[in-house]
């Protein structure tokens, strides 16, 4: 069958594939961490606002998450721009085609992000005194974020399935489509959403470890542990469903057919088990910080493994037809060096500003304690 795959851009890639892929995966990993904290965090905050009357800690956590939301939102977006850029260089011809086919929901992402973003600001201003209105706004934010994630799942599966493109185009050329025919769509989406909830559980653990007040600290750690453990165990089932629904050759690659894919799947299953085991062990410890830190690290490494696995899955799905390694390369080294220098300078500037804020905040806390 002749598939309508657009030809890749005739210009050579402006950097070696390894560099583009490294930057894609690194920035996507950071994006996913923030995005998971955003999606999972707003869901947690929503539950907390609904429980605000029966649990003082819940009300407090809703307020604490509210204060963090705008910044987490800002960095989710900022960190999302970079992987989208590097993805377009290597896979743009596939992504543009699938985006056009689902043009309406794809562009609606922008409107949904703006609404959710302003909703999160509203919650950050009012979240410390949650009421019915803040609950409704937050529920809308959660719904919008979940919808955005769903559209992303649609596009990133559709870009791998050119055999479906012409039918979609002929059935609706105005972009009112979704990739419903993709067997792995729902398990993939659920796998990622549950993962987001699990990572927000890690976020609660970090908040707990940074908390000085003992009761609230214990509560946050308990909640974070339960959230991570529960959703992760559930995700094993959903992950299996996802695996089963992958196209035959890709599925086989993950269960022995391809060394890297199989190893990644193994690591991707062992790491969350290790994380869960350490979080359970932490419950029995008097000073659980070490166990929790190992649990959190294993959780973060799981995310890293999943990000790499997702990339391997994409390349396996495209393997018969396309690989970025086929493309000609003509690196623009002078500008790459400039980028690296500015990137380091940017990190240094960020470090300078955050350090100043941290020192100033510590001094303020110390001064307030002195006064008491």
């Amino acid at each position: 069958m002749n598939l309508p795959i657009p030809y890749p851009d005739p210009m050579p890639l402006p950097a070696p594939v390894w560099l583009l892929r490294t930057l894609l995966l690194l920035t996507f990993f950071l994006h996913v961490l923030f995005m998971n904290c955003l999606l999972g965090g707003t869901a947690v905050a929503l539950v907390c606002t609904m429980r605000r009357k029966s649990s003082a800690f819940s009300a407090r956590l809703a307020g604490d998450i509210g204060r963090l939301l705008p910044s987490v939102f800002a960095f989710t977006i900022t960190l999302g721009v970079a992987p989208l850029l590097f993805l377009q260089v290597m896979y743009g011809h596939l992504l543009y085609a699938s985006s056009i086919l689902i043009g309406v929901p794809w562009l609606a992402i922008i409107g949904m992000v703006i609404l959710a973003y302003y909703g999160s600001y509203f919650f950050s201003l009012k979240g410390h005194e949650p009421n019915g209105k803040t609950t409704v706004v937050l529920a809308l934010v959660v719904l919008l974020l979940a919808s955005i994630a769903f559209v992303y799942s649609n596009n990133f599966t559709l870009m791998l399935a050119p055999e479906r493109w012409l039918d979609l185009y002929h059935s609706n050329a105005s972009g009112w489509n979704l990739n419903w025919l993709e067997p792995s769509l729902l398990p993939r989406y659920l796998h990622f959403v549950l993962g987001a909830l699990a990572v927000s559980g890690l976020g609660l653990l970090v908040m707990g470890l940074r908390q000085r007040e003992d009761g609230y600290r214990q509560w946050l750690i308990a909640q974070g542990s339960s959230l991570f453990t529960g959703t992760t165990l559930l995700n094993f089932g959903v992950g299996f469903w996802f695996l089963v629904k992958l196209p035959g050759p890709v599925r086989l690659a993950f269960v022995g057919g391809n060394g890297l894919a199989t190893a990644l799947l193994g690591v991707g299953m062992l790491l969350p088990l290790a994380a869960v085991a350490h979080l359970i062990m932490a419950k029995a410890h008097k000073s659980p910080t070490r166990q929790l830190a190992i649990g959190i690290s294993c959780g973060l490494l799981t995310v890293a493994a999943m990000v790499i696995m997702r990339d391997v899955l994409r390349n396996l799905a495209l393997a018969p037809r396309f690989s970025p390694n086929q493309l000609p390369v003509a690196p623009q080294w002078s500008i790459i060096v400039l980028f690296v220098l500015l990137f380091v300078a940017g990190l240094a500037t960020l470090y300078y500003m955050l350090r100043k804020v941290a020192i100033a905040t510590m001094m303020q806390v110390a001064a307030a304690q002195k006064l008491q």
Partner: protein, 499 residues
């Protein structure tokens, strides 16, 4: 042609314009507003003006809510939109400038972090550090403009890049510097404009102090625009400068609109901000915002118009067809060049519609914006097919038709079907006038500026002879495809066109 076409029912360019103008309006404020914040804060410290300091604090919150949310997300929105409407050009831009964008991303990241720290740590940071964070914000925001300006101007004037393909040749192109200067002063002007917005929430006498201070920013921004625009105009490609000769109504209207908006904004600011700041009120501020939006929108529209018939000058046409592929498409036909059309010998009009979507719909709609029905009224299929051979002559802003003879016939047939009409008239002259409107008025006028036809007093029989040999007279002319009676009526009209 390489991609499917998102069929919106209106030209995709309109969608890009809507998202882009909103983004550009806010993002320029985001740049100039950084300098405004930090200089206003410094001024408040220097004068020990705690009220003014209170104003800057409020303004910084407004600033973040508008720029970090709406400004930043609509910026991503432009990316999404251009990828949907002009994927070929977007891909080309990404391949040429991915590292420019990566650098812009670094500045964007620093900018967002600095904006949040600046707005939310007034009480945490000491004055000097807070000011430094403000400066970091401004430098990062302006640096992101420095980068994106190179990419935007490259699309209009790629300069030596066309020969070398070198990043820096494309980036520092002929309109880079005037455009950067224009955008910078626009940014400063918009900072003053939004300064006036938040000033309306303050009480007197602080309100007057802020209004006068913000007014200066706006006045200097607008006043600098005229000389800088002349510099920019001077560096435009000569074919683009020719669009300003009065032949294009859209250009005339945009120029007038921009000038009127700028003058109104300048006068209102001088009177209500500098001379009588007590009289400044939310209605005047709203008019100023509309005027500012008008200047910005008109400017961006004109810049885009200057690029026609290309989206990347001399490299990719406005309909996303690559200049380098034109020859192959003309030789092989669209059917062999695109997977997204289905050639049909039985139903040429249906095939023609697909060609319209793929070749014309990025700028034209059937009956809305730049409606084809308006242009094709009374066409016959043969005329439609012939005129497609001469598109860049009909309008300098049009790309040549990409397709073979079969494609041309199909699209011509479809275009002719949009507004069928048979010319008729009470007199031969009236009929001739209608025939002129259908067959000649796309390129010519009688007694007008656009390629005037002056055959007054010529023997109609001689004109009939001319009409029969148009292609011999000028190969850029399509043959006359009307009936003999219509040709004769046209000759009568041209011989004595006065009423």
């Amino acid at each position: 042609m390489n991609y499917p076409v998102w069929q919106l029912g209106f030209p995709g360019g309109l969608l890009i314009a809507a998202v882009a103008v909103l983004h550009v309006f806010i993002s320029h404020f985001a740049v100039g507003g950084g300098a405004y914040l930090v200089l206003t804060e410094r001024r408040a410290y220097a004068r020990n003006d705690s009220e003014m300091l209170g104003y800057v604090r409020h303004h910084s919150k407004f600033f973040v809510l508008l720029t970090v949310v709406l400004g930043a997300v609509t910026g991503v929105g432009i990316w999404f939109t251009i990828g949907l409407v002009s994927p070929e050009a977007t891909s080309s831009l990404i391949h040429t400038f991915v590292w420019g964008w990566a650098i812009e991303w670094v500045f964007f990241f620093v900018e967002i972090a600095a904006a949040l720290i600046y707005a939310y740590h007034w009480d945490t940071l000491d004055r000097q550090t807070h000011l430094i964070v403000g400066w970091i914000y401004f430098v990062a925001a302006w640096a992101s403009l420095v980068v994106i300006n190179g990419i935007i101007t490259y699309m209009l004037t790629p300069g030596r890049w066309l020969e070398t393909g070198n990043f820096w040749d494309g980036f520092f192109n002929p309109t880079y510097w005037p455009s950067l200067c224009i955008r910078t002063v626009m940014a400063m002007g918009l900072a003053g404009m939004f300064g006036l917005v938040t000033a309306m929430w303050e009480r007197s006498p602080l309100r007057e102090r802020v209004v006068r201070w913000a007014g200066w920013w706006l006045v200097l921004g607008i006043a600098s625009l005229l000389p800088l625009s002349r510099w920019y105009f001077h560096d435009l490609p000569s074919y683009s400068r020719a669009y300003f000769n009065g032949a294009y109504i859209a250009v005339r209207h945009s120029l007038r609109g921009a000038a009127v908006c700028a003058v109104v904004a300048l006068l209102l600011t001088v009177v209500f901000a500098l001379l009588r700041p007590k009289m400044m009120n939310p209605v005047v501020v709203a008019v100023l915002l509309v005027a500012g939006f008008g200047v910005m929108g008109s400017g961006e529209y004109l810049r885009e118009f200057c690029r026609y018939p290309y989206v990347i000058n001399s490299y990719i046409y406005a309909n996303d067809v690559r200049v380098g592929q034109m020859e192959g498409i003309v030789a092989n036909g669209v059917g062999k060049s695109s997977s997204w059309v289905e050639a049909s010998a039985e139903n040429p009009q249906a095939y023609g519609r697909q060609l319209f979507v793929i070749e014309c719909a990025s700028c034209h709609s059937v009956s809305g914006y730049r409606a084809m029905r308006r242009f094709t009224r009374g066409w016959d299929a043969k005329f439609g097919s012939e005129i497609l051979l001469h598109l860049p002559v009909v309008r300098e802003t049009m790309p040549p038709f990409a397709g073979d003879e079969h494609d041309r016939a199909a699209l011509g047939s479809y275009l002719a079907s949009l507004a069928p009409a048979t010319p008729s008239g009470a007199s031969e002259k009236e009929l001739g006038q209608q025939v002129f409107a259908i067959h000649c008025a796309l390129c010519h006028s009688v007694g007008g500026q656009r390629r005037p036809l002056d055959l007054k007093g010529t023997d109609p029989e001689a004109i009939v002879g001319i009409i029969g040999t148009l292609r011999d007279i000028n190969p850029d002319m399509p043959p006359f495809t009307g009936t003999d009676a219509e040709g004769r009526a046209l000759a009568v009209y041209l011989s004595s066109p006065s009423q």
